[in-house]
């Protein structure tokens, strides 16, 4: 009983520590810029300025930022999922010479710090004349190896008999992947999609480097436009940040359901 109380208290403290920055962002999003910087700081605003959201939205081309971010995040997620499923399946099930060595090399690339690749990637994108294009942002970051490894590990947990039954039923490798393996891998695909989408939705550096001009800015890049030489519009910046978080939260809620449902589905798998 006592242990329960201590556990809950500890978990509660950690939860507060994690939630406070979000609370602070929302709290600052609905007060005046003067109140944001007022000392001593108040936990809740004195006057709720709900209009900040609309103001932030109209002051900068926020709709455009949203669209740019959405195109990039959706495309990168879609390509990553397809590529990861194909390569993960090859590493899990296809027998070819040098498979294990290739896999180790593949996983080894995870050790390379992404920042180290920024300059070479930019040079390549520049050579391909893709600077300031969506393709220039999307293509270099859509072929990560983490997804392939994640999918491989999940595919290995699917009973071999299902594939054998499908082979006897007349399914080709690709058909097995599409009709049997992928539907059963929704938890992993959901997880990969969620990580990739949120990662790209929040990606700041790469779009900043490849894209130029406010029209091509993504949300994280666009938000920085509230920071000017004349000072920072903290309240609008926070309102914009709050708005930019919404799609990620909605996606997380949707995919969470999908992940749970798929786990329930897998519980009935096979029967042994």
């Amino acid at each position: 009983m006592m242990l329960d109380i201590i556990n809950h208290a500890a978990l509660g403290l950690v939860a507060i520590a994690f939630l406070f920055p979000f609370f602070w962002m929302v709290s600052n999003a609905v007060r005046s810029n003067v109140e944001v910087t007022a000392i001593p700081a108040r936990i809740l605003p004195e006057v709720f300025e709900w209009g900040n959201f609309a103001a932030a939205w109209t002051q900068l081309p926020f709709g455009r930022f949203f669209l740019n971010s959405a195109v990039i995040a959706v495309c990168v997620t879609a390509i990553t999922v397809v590529v990861s499923c194909l390569s993960g399946y090859a590493f899990a099930r296809l027998k070819f010479k040098g498979r294990e060595t290739l896999l180790i090399g593949y996983i080894g690339t995870l050790m390379v710090p992404p920042l180290m690749l920024i300059i070479p990637l930019f040079l390549i994108v520049n050579k391909l004349n893709l600077v300031n294009t969506f393709a220039g942002v999307i293509l270099p970051i859509s072929f990560g190896t983490f997804g392939a490894f994640l999918m491989r590990q999940f595919f290995l947990s699917i009973p071999m008999e299902l594939e054998e039954a499908a082979r006897i039923d007349g399914a080709s490798r690709l058909r097995i992947l599409v009709s049997i393996i992928v539907p059963l891998s929704m938890p992993a695909i959901g997880l990969l999609s969620l990580f990739t989408f949120i990662g790209q939705w929040n990606n700041f550096l790469w779009p900043l480097i490849v894209m130029t001009g406010a029209d091509n800015a993504t949300l994280p890049v666009g938000l920085t436009l509230f920071q000017t030489q004349q000072g920072t519009q903290w309240n609008y910046l926070m309102a914009g940040a709050t708005l930019s978080m919404l799609p990620g939260i909605v996606l997380a809620i949707i995919l969470q359901k999908l992940i749970y449902n798929s786990i329930a589905l897998n519980a009935g798998m096979g029967g042994r």
Binding site: P159, A166, I168, D169, G271
Partner: protein
């Protein structure tokens, strides 16, 4: 329907040979059971027939086609797996229709075939359920349904009843046998359960260590086992084996056993006088009598229909299966008699049958 012929089938994994030249044939419409202990190669052989394992050497022929290099779906076979291998994300109907959809059959044909199979297997009410909503027995029937809709030349079963409880296993045994009689399709069935083999097979193939030990009808294998391995493997409780030397005890032949009483032998053992011999006696051929082999009751196991007695004669453990109701207690000395005409004689070195 088709004949299945396997000629000198060899399976190697690298340098390790696990099947050493298997030759066996299943006639058109025959129910052949491959039986043997774990690791005997029976499942490997079945998977080679299915095309899930390559054939290192030899030939497998289904109908009049050599199928060695054909893909599983080109072999005109259907397989029921131990784990059923139902697609968990598809309904029963979709599970059964999957192969037909892949073969691009018309919607009407698919519907008709699935409905026909569902009627045969009493699955009509379950067609819209998912595998997770079915009991073990129902899943098993769906797995068979998935095989039936393809109307294959040969059905392959890989220990399909292993995951069921004893009662359901008996029920499904009957269902599979009924299905066989109804469809008349050639079936190859793998099991480690000799009772399943005995009750279902037209012909049993007993395997051990990648070799075939004996092929025969259930009663042939039971009544005239080719060697002491088959004799011990087929039948429950297992056959008793008593090693000793044949002696002529003043007209009557007897088996002299080290540190134990002598066992009477049939006349057919006369040519082995002075030589060592392994006597095999089925538990049901042993009874209690006023005079006979001296032994002591160790454990009594009533099964209802008969009573199994674990006995000690000298240093030898013996099992007797007695039909009559008897009153004995552990530790009690009793005399055994057995039907010598039904004795099995084996070479103690090779294990081969002598009579």
């Amino acid at each position: 329907m088709a004949k299945l012929t396997i000629r000198n089938a060899v399976k190697r994994y690298g340098a390790l040979e696990v099947l050493h030249g298997i030759s066996v044939a299943a006639q058109d419409g025959e129910f052949v059971v491959l039986v043997g202990p774990s690791g005997c190669g029976k499942s490997t052989l079945l998977r080679m027939i299915a095309g899930l394992e390559s054939i290192s050497d030899g030939e497998i022929e289904i109908g009049d086609r050599i199928v060695n290099d054909l893909e599983p779906n080109e072999r005109d076979i259907a397989m029921v797996f131990q784990s059923y291998a139902l697609y968990p994300h598809m309904t029963v109907r979709d599970n059964m229709a999957f192969s037909l959809k892949l073969a691009r059959r018309s919607k009407q044909e698919i519907e008709r075939k699935v409905d026909d199979a569902a009627a045969i297997l009493d699955l009509a009410a379950l067609l819209d359920r998912y595998p997770r909503q079915l009991s073990g027995g129902q899943r098993q029937r769906v797995a068979m349904g998935r095989a039936i809709v393809r109307n294959p030349a040969v059905f392959l079963f890989d220990e399909p009843l292993s995951n069921l409880d004893a009662k359901l296993r008996m029920q499904m045994r009957t269902e599979i046998k009924t299905l066989h009689q109804r469809l008349g399709t050639t079936m190859v069935y793998v099991t480690h359960d000799q009772m399943e083999a005995m009750t279902m097979a037209d012909r049993i193939v007993v395997m051990r260590g990648g070799h075939i030990e004996q092929i025969g009808s259930p009663l042939e294998v039971y009544d005239a086992p080719a060697n002491s391995f088959v004799a011990g493997f087929i039948g429950s409780p297992s056959m008793n084996f008593i090693d000793g030397t044949v002696v002529d005890g003043g007209g009557a032949l007897e088996l002299e056993v080290a540190h134990g009483p002598r066992w009477p032998l049939p006349d057919k053992a006369r040519s082995y006088v002075g030589r060592s011999l392994r006597l095999g006696v089925r538990p049901e051929h042993i009874g209690i009598s006023e005079q006979g082999v001296q032994s002591q009751v160790i454990i009594i196991e009533p099964t209802g229909s008969d009573t199994h007695l674990q006995l000690q004669t000298g240093q030898q453990s013996i099992v007797a299966a007695v039909r009559d109701r008897i009153t004995v207690s552990p530790g009690q000395p009793i005399q055994l008699r057995y039907d010598a005409q039904k004795a099995h004689l084996f070479d103690p070195t090779s294990g081969n049958r002598l009579n």
